[in-house]
Amino acid sequence: MFIKRLPAFEYHTPSSVEEALDLMEKHGNNGKYIAGGTDLLIAMKKREAVPDHLISLGGIESLKGITPDDKGVRIGALTTLAEIERSEIIGKQYLPLRDAVGVMASIQVRNLATIGGNLCSAVPSADSAPPLMALDASVKLEGPEGERTVPLETFFTGPKSSILKNREVLTEISIPKPHPVSSGCYLKLMRRHAMDLALVGVAACLKLDSERKVCKEARITLGAVAPTPIRVPEVEAELVNKEIDEAVAEEAAQIAGSECRPISDLRASLDYRCDAVTVLTKRAVIETLKRITG
């Protein structure tokens, strides 16, 4: 009913993923991985989660940092939102992600919260998910049975649930290198101007032809308006192979407004969220075009 103090737990500090997996193996169902803790500790104070063992991933150096390579960029799951916010390469080449981390929570929380943690919490309004999905990101999952890499698009299965198995750790997010004639953005609607959950989040990534006229590829994703962050292929189809202008963007945005499946809650009504999806989708498409054509 009311927030309580943290329940008692044992705290483990492995220094490698293997060690973390072993610890989880040992403590069976009473253990939980903890990254930044900004979601988990609150859940524990609400007694929504009462693990006897917290296995901290914070001491595993291999899970940290932003590493560009010839395929794109790899972001360690334990990288904080603040580190991403300050990253030069993210700020230059992966604009939707930069947009998102800049409007997440507060500066204090961004200093603690990790990108992997935001994905693993799997709340429908998670701000990092729509931009990463629009950027075609993949996530690497390591577990007792080995590792697998899956497109982020297939990661979420419902509110607060994902394909992540009990003992698996999300270790890395990789984003392919963007095409030279492409860009993207993330727009978030909140009740106030900062420190708020998304009522609606829209990410767009567009690739144009070499003339910078015709849209060759579009990825549009929505947050907070369905049980999981969603990609909307119907909207993308409306944009591809067209010279995008206000009218085309408007048409696509209308489809987004009708494709979303939000709920009514105390933060906003279903109707308002659908209207906002339309508005933000159009704005995201136009803003992305501007970013490409300068």
């Binding site: 009913m1 009311f2 927030i3 309580k4 103090r5 008692a8 609607l189 009740r191 106030r192 101007h193 900062a194 420190m195 708020d196 959950l197 105390l266 933060r267 906003a268 009504s269 308002y272 209207d275 906002a276 508005v279 933000l280």
Partner: protein, 759 residues
Amino acid sequence: MKNYRVVGKSVERTDARVKVTGSARYAGDLLAPGMLHGKLLRSPTAHARILNIDTSKARAMPGVMAVITGKDFPGIPFGTRPDIRDQLPMPITKVHHFGEGVAAVAAVDEDTAEAALDLIEVDYEELPAVVTARDALAPDAPFVNEFKNSNVAYFSDFAFGDVDKGFKEADHIREETFSSQRVTVGFVEPHACLAEVDANGRVLLQGSKQSPYITWRHMCRALDIPLSGMRIINPFVGGGFSGKHDPFDVDFAAVKLAQVTGKPVKIVLNYDEVLAAYRQRNAMDARLKIGVKKNGAITALWAENILEGGPITGIGAFNIYYFGAFLNIPYKIPALEYHGKLVYSNRAPCGTVRGQEIVLAQFCIDSLLHMIGEDIGVDQVELRAINAVPDNWTCANGIKVDVSGLSECIEKSAEKVGWKESRTSKPEGRGIGFSCASHPSGPRLGGHFGSAVMLKLLENGQVIITQGATEIGQGSNTVFCQMAAEELGLPFEDILQGASDSDTTIFDSGMFGDRATYWDGNATIAAAEDLKKQLAEIVAPSLKANPEDIEFADKRVFVREAPERGIDWLSAVRKAYYEKGAPLYGRGTWAALDIDIVDWKTGRGNLVHGLDFIATAMEVQVDKETGTVDLIRAVHGDDAGQPINPAMLEGQVNGGSAQLTGHALWEESLYDAKGIALNPSWRDYKQPTAVDVPESQVEHVHTHDPYGPFGAKGAGEASSCSTLAAVANGIYDAVGVRIKDLPITAEKILDGLKAREEK
């Protein structure tokens, strides 16, 4: 105007450094030897009979030192006035709202205390919840408060002037309804206290209290101990805004647990408890009718108002009068009729919030005035200027205005915000809204009402000031140090702030209604005069002068007509201490004796002095596609008399306005149909952040109040009163959507825009 040395200067706050560096000690920081930790068990339901509370298992838990319930108190009800004593320290027969404390545990540590709560078994018999004013007034509604066989907690009905004639003479009449939501108070520090009992059974309470006097009186009554049986020391307080006047279950439980265990007991709340179960602002349903002449001059006003205030009357009895009383001002209203009711409900108990219910009255008046201006084609600024009260104005209900800078406030705010220019061209979605307001400098509520200040002269020449007013962040301590320094002819740094302790201070009747600067300021001047008089008598013979010819300035004591005949201040102090054996105190008291104790039910009388005035212009930008609002700029023309500390005054004006932008646009304490709080967390209760509030500009309009210290008036609440309507009117000016039910959410604006398109 007199040339002051310390008054009128933006000196550094006395508490600035300790607060900024984190070394100021608040109630939650306090420790005492052998201290126990207390926790409260809270009601999971809004309305239920308490059939039984079994605490035996909790008592048996190792580490638990005591468990108490409402039955451990004497069962004596308390309340703001003798006719409205309808509260108990903790409930005995029934719970009245979600989150009400029903039992409390003291244990060796917080974890144990919390775990023990789970072992307390309470049998409830659920009752239908009275959630809204409509529920409360339904013919078959269950009674909320066990001390009253009615859900009408209080009422106020009055009529002044010839209202029928006023409306007959009007060229245009408009009537509208308005409503306002439940909002929390919004201080930073949650409720907290440390209670101890000494070997003689005397209680010491150190809590986060805004008005220690009110806490002291009510607690001693309900605990059935004499006033001398309790001492209160106020630590630093992290904001009050009228949410910390009276004692709460927290305070009562800590004291009772300390009495039972003989050990100090500390209780510190989490903020979700504060949001769910402690003081909020009354919800309002009001209907207003205003008649005007062709030029916009108001001829009459009629109003009906229902405030829903939770299960206790509290200060609500005053709120319901205040709403009506301040319909009389800041505009000239020759005739006025008012019918107000305060009703009980099963939501969190209301006190009031900054600006009191003038905030709501002014939202109604200035919103309606804007509509009327549009109807009759009179410019919004002219409309307010025509109706602005002047100097020496007596309102229909008897409130007397001595000095009004309102016309100049209106002029300045309009000019600085660029009102005229905006009428010929403004960006799409941009608008400017106006509202004025007036707020008094400390009303007299009955009972103890004077202010007292003591100046203790140290033998090194410095002075320690203690006063009845409480520093709650508003800066009053700094202001009194400035005033004492000015009067004694000493540098600001030579006045030190003493403790706020009921053993050495006579507490003020409460920190409400912008009274501190005005009342304690005057008492400070009186205390300084008293100290100077005593020193003058000691020094005068050696200067071969009469005591009444002695002057104090620039750290010297000298003969007024012959300034070269004098000694320095320290020599004078030593003369007192070392030659005359006279360590000195200066004592001063002040009270406005020529104001009335108004009967809240009938409303006539001059309640106050020192009416301050404000005109707020709010520039807003509305996103027509999402309905979201950006507050661009707030320009306040503000008449607070003589500013004592201009930087702090601006802080008060800006802060009062910023706080109410949340009420206007984002904040709402939500409840379900059973009265359960839905959003008691900062995640879903949305106060404005630094990036949400507008850029602010304060235009000081200097006036000289004939009763105020150095001509000052109170200052902290007028801008709260002028903000709601300024925002609402700005949004209307921007996009033509009139929202009369607060908060003005983006969704409501978007719905309004859609409705306009459909027309």
